[in-house]
Symmetry: C2
Subunit: 127 residues, 2 copies
Amino acid sequence: MSSPSRSLIQYGYASPSDMTWSRSEKAIARQAFDAALKRELHELMQEAKEIAGQIKQPSDLCDLQEYLTQRRKEIDHKYNYRYSHLTQVFGRLLCETRVSEEELRGFSEDKLKTIRSFAKFLAEDVA
Amino acid sequence: MSSPSRSLIQYGYASPSDMTWSRSEKAIARQAFDAALKRELHELMQEAKEIAGQIKQPSDLCDLQEYLTQRRKEIDHKYNYRYSHLTQVFGRLLCETRVSEEELRGFSEDKLKTIRSFAKFLAEDVA
């Protein structure tokens, strides 16, 4: 996979690190970010309970341990609340339908454009 | 903690690596080893189910992941089926009451003596 931010800049969008965040945008971002993280962690809690409930043999234990370790790394990596990374973070969350456009309402149009473009870029990259 | 094998050798016991294992001793060792490992893994399976069942918040997920990772490392380290290590392995399992003297019946007296001494050594080291 090529560097997403570089490719997006080539398409004419602002670099995430060039963006400034207004006070109201920061409040919206914090709320949307925390809500998505909370939902993903609750989803993982349910998954862990289900997987653990189905453990029948020792190899299932290893599977659970490896799954939790991998998911923890993914979540730690994904939820990076630095303003210089936030458009990419929300782009990914939008791509994964973990945040809705509704939750991002109030962001400037250039931010939304970058977020949508990054989401589209990721969706095409996965396809 | 000082090196257990070195301390035991100082007490006049044979070095585990000096011991040879007869065919019947190998069969007894394999059976006792596998049975202890199976019991410990089943114990961990039950623990994992119980801990997962009690998950109420995201930090509980981290606790479960860290607990499983740590226990897996411990078990991988503890159950080392090399003949040069087996008296120490059984000494530890005896100390933890994960094998019984009954399961080791058939081992030569020098092996049993080394195993018991190592178990005693570990018990005193923990106390």
